[in-house]
């Protein structure tokens, strides 16, 4: 069936609502890549087996990731017209016990994360309570979803459906207001009106550079051409970032609908989603989503009976970080080597196959439908004047609550790390937070009250970037971190321009010397000078930002660099050439654990007698240090 009218869309919505909120028990398992690697597939199997065994009348479903990756595998139980309960850190055994409790009509009291009493139907601006009129008393203690700092401080616009719908079912997306915005745009708005709405919402590119989205669309609209293209940049290459994966795996239609609206606005007939091949599940779910949208006539010829036709295709990346740069990405879609070219001309003038092209990030596209439905004013009510709206971060590293979080721009780093993130894991000391991937910088503690937006982070020598936020503690060596990023950009430099190709290589060598204690103080000045040079002379964004991690760490953690070059010490005790492991005789009980675990046979000593590390044999892997139950192993 092809959808032609609003009534048909509403009919499908009713069907979708019945699917999403059935009249019987519904059990959902978060099955994005992160969930699966935490063991969600085994939990799913256990649930399935137990449900069949006991004959429980319940629907078992897979969903995307609700974002709280730290607590995965997550299992949700929806009691029809009552409440939804979220269970955390589930195991196959606990899953079986959960089903047994359900069979008896009881509430399983263990591993409860929170209770969800209502859901936000964001696109339509409605709240849908589970129970009417009052949330039921469950007889078990469970915090409310809104009261958990991890969820309560978030505003989910791009992530509106992640973890709430079955990502492989278009009906469930439609149930929560999906494709209403596309209908409104095609039947009620001119392309210019769509552009003006996006423009006045103030939405800026969420890929990191922050260029106003509406303006970009306007440029492409004004360029007359028989063919135009829209592209979704899903080549999420930044290490330590998985926002795009979360959206594509949890809510692929949000991106598809946004792209269709964008194509209508600029006058494009075709679009590409360029997704990195490292995300097989995202590609799989995108393919399903595109097929479903085509079957319903939401992609293809004469959508909703209008004159607008739009074809969407997927292109897989092949593992090249530089292809996240827009001109490289376009070259890659054309089947060429992914090398950047100088701009101008910008893609909006001459992009794919030389035609005007709008290229936006996954997150940017997924903001479009809500903006069209709720209006620019509503959207710009979030965030700051210069950067309205929300953005998604992947909060990872040494925080207690790792996961995917969406915040209004302007929230401080401290709120993100200590309220949402729940502070530093293991009670250790915060050292730095890294934003913007290899193009960004490390921000020290004294700037934790900086608001998160494009300009503020830029002023600190970092960038907003696409959304990786890696928290580091006292055990991370900042020189080593800088070396890590330069290693990365050195490997990923395409080699077209000399400053980037040769410069990152030399920076890497100099940093290597610092971590080996073979550098001098003058070398630090050389590092800074060379970094400035690379920034000024590189061809594309990769080279122009590659030295940022070096510059920001030298700026804020100079004493750590000095400790390496002056005292030949690594304060964080990470750089192998500068550290050694020892066993304190008084503390060693001779339990033999380290001796048995040592991969290099570098520990000697008889049972119940103090052990000793043979320095010549030690490969400094740290196994003994982490394994010792009596803190008898120390690092110098």
């Amino acid at each position: 069936m092809k959808l032609r009218t609003l009534e048909q869309l509403e009919d499908l919505k009713k069907k979708g609502l019945a699917l999403t909120y059935p009249d019987k028990l519904k059990i959902m398992v978060g099955m994005a890549t992160c969930g699966i690697s935490a063991g969600a597939d085994k939990v799913f199997e256990a649930l399935q087996a137990k449900i069949t065994e006991l004959g429980v009348d319940a629907v078992l479903e897979k969903t995307g990731c609700i974002g709280f990756c730290q607590r995965e595998p997550l299992v949700d139980v929806v009691y029809p017209k009552k409440v939804r309960l979220s269970y955390q850190a589930m195991t196959p055994e606990k899953a079986a016990a959960l089903v047994e409790a359900l069979k008896k009509g009881e509430v399983y009291p263990e591993n409860l994360l929170c209770r969800i009493d209502q859901e936000d139907f964001l696109v339509e601006g409605q709240v849908r309570p589970y129970a009417n009129p009052h949330p039921p008393d469950l007889g078990v203690e469970a915090p409310r979803y809104e009261d958990l700092p991890f969820f309560g401080k978030q505003v989910k616009i791009a992530l509106r459906n992640c973890g709430f719908i079955h990502p492989e079912r278009i009906e469930e997306y439609i149930a929560r207001g999906g494709y209403q915005a596309l209908h409104r745009a095609l039947t009620g708005l001119t392309p210019e009106e769509v552009i003006s709405e996006v423009k006045s919402s103030g939405l800026r590119g969420r890929g990191g550079a922050g260029f106003p989205t509406g303006l970009k669309w306007e440029f492409a609209r004004k360029n007359d051409s028989d063919e135009k293209y829209v592209i979704c940049n899903a080549d999420e290459g930044d290490p330590g970032a998985f926002m795009d994966r979360g959206i594509l795996e949890g809510d692929p239609h949000a991106v598809i609908e946004g792209m269709a609206i964008g194509a209508y606005a600029i006058g494009a007939q075709e679009g590409y989603i360029y997704c990195r091949a490292e995300y097989p599940l995202a590609i799989h779910r995108l393919k399903i989503a595109i097929k479903q949208a085509e079957d319903l006539g939401l992609l293809g010829d004469k959508i909703f009976g209008s004159n607008f036709s739009f074809k969407l295709m997927i292109r897989e990346g092949a593992g090249a970080f530089v292809c996240g740069e827009e001109t490289s990405l376009i070259a890659s879609i054309e089947g060429k080597v992914g090398e950047p070219r100088p701009r101008p001309p910008f893609p909006a003038q001459s992009g794919l196959w030389g035609k005007p092209t709008v290229i936006n990030n996954v997150k940017t596209w997924s903001h479009i439908a809500p903006i069209i439905m709720r209006g620019a004013e509503w959207y710009s009510g979030f965030g700051t004047d210069k950067a309205p709206g929300t953005t998604v971060f992947a909060l990872v590293g040494k925080v207690n609550n790792t996961g995917l979080v969406e915040i209004p721009l302007g929230m401080t780093l401290r709120e993100m790390i200590f309220d949402i993130g729940g502070g530093i894991a293991g009670g250790r000391q915060f050292k730095a937070v890294q934003t913007g991937g290899p193009s960004g910088g490390c921000i020290p503690e004294e700037f934790l009250d900086t608001p998160v937006d494009y300009e503020s982070l830029g002023a600190l020598g970092s960038i907003m970037g696409s959304g990786g936020m890696i928290v580091m503690d006292e055990r991370d060596c900042m020189v080593n971190v800088a070396k890590y990023f330069i290693d990365f950009t050195k490997d990923e430099s395409c080699g077209k321009c000399t400053p980037c190709r040769e410069g990152t290589l030399r920076l890497g060598e100099m940093l290597e010397a610092v971590t080996e204690g073979k550098a001098s103080e003058e070398d630090l000045d050389k590092l800074v000078k060379m970094s400035e040079l690379i920034k000024k002379t590189s061809l594309c964004g990769l080279g122009q930002t590659a030295p940022n991690p070096v510059l920001s760490t030298i700026r804020y953690f100079r004493d750590e660099y000095l400790a390496h070059v002056r005292d030949h010490k690594c304060p964080a005790k990470v750089c192998k050439p500068l550290i050694s492991f020892h066993i304190i005789e008084d503390l060693c009980t001779g339990c033999q654990l380290c001796r048995l675990k040592c991969p290099a046979e570098a520990v000697e000593g008889a049972k119940k007698e103090p052990h000793r590390i043979i320095q010549e044999k030690c490969i400094k892997c740290g196994t003994c240090y982490e394994g010792c139950k009596f803190d008898a192993v120390v690092v110098d």
């Binding site: 890549t33 992160c34 690697s37 970032a241 995300y279 593992g319 077209k496």
Partner: protein
């Protein structure tokens, strides 16, 4: 043209263009517009003989892959990705076949094949292990994971074990940062790893491979 054999004087009317390295900015515009570049310079038949496939059916597989993408614009990358997925690497005869059928110089294809990390020009093992060295995994100790794997498999990353069972590679982020450190073996993803867990994981794959082989033998 004048003079006699052995001492000829020739006036060239049409000269080849050269790039002045002093002025070239490396923008690649000349490369893009050159019409000769995309014309296959066909050598004589003998030199055109392609390297042989390992299995006779392989050629049909590649033919099928090319047919699937023939009408797409810019189809080289999807074709190479599919070939790479089927064989786990890009065998020479397959590349030659692509060159012939797409009418594209082999050098051009090799340039693309060697640029992207996903492609391998040497055979890889049955299970490809990708250790994530993304920032999230890096700060949570994935370099130690990699070392443990290198010790357990007796190879360095980028290499394949002698029995062609495992290839060890590093990847810059598989998007499992919240469950760092992570790695992927074939299509399975593992999170929250410690070096101590490595031997057991490797063993389970070696065993399941052994089972597959035995079953195949029994069936065959």
């Amino acid at each position: 043209m004048n003079g006699k054999p052995g001492n000829l004087e020739v006036v060239l009317e049409k000269k080849a263009r050269f790039v002045d390295p002093a002025k070239c900015t490396g923008c690649g515009t000349c490369l893009d517009v050159c019409p000769i570049r995309y014309q296959v310079q066909l050598p004589d038949d003998k030199a055109r003989a392609r390297a042989a496939y390992a299995k006779a059916t392989d050629e049909l597989v590649v033919t099928g892959i090319i047919a699937r993408h023939r009408d797409e614009r810019g189809n080289l990358l999807p074709i190479l990705l599919d070939i790479n997925r089927h064989f786990n690497w890009l065998p020479r005869p397959a590349l030659e076949q692509v060159s012939d059928e797409l009418k594209m110089p082999l050098a051009e294809i090799l340039r693309v094949a060697s640029f992207y990390n996903a492609f391998s020009l040497v055979p890889r093992g049955k299970y490809i292990i990708n250790v994530c060295l993304g920032t999230g995994c890096f700060v949570k100790g994935s370099p130690r994971l990699l070392e443990a794997l290198e010790r357990a498999l007796h190879i360095k990353h980028g290499q394949t074990t002698e029995d062609m069972l495992f290839t060890l590679e590093v990847v810059r982020c598989i998007g499992c940062c919240a469950l760092a450190p992570a790695m992927r073996v074939g299509e399975d993803t593992f999170g929250r790893l410690t070096p101590a867990m490595i031997p057991r994981i490797l063993k389970s794959y070696a065993e399941s491979y052994g089972r597959d082989e035995a079953e195949e033998e029994a069936a065959g």
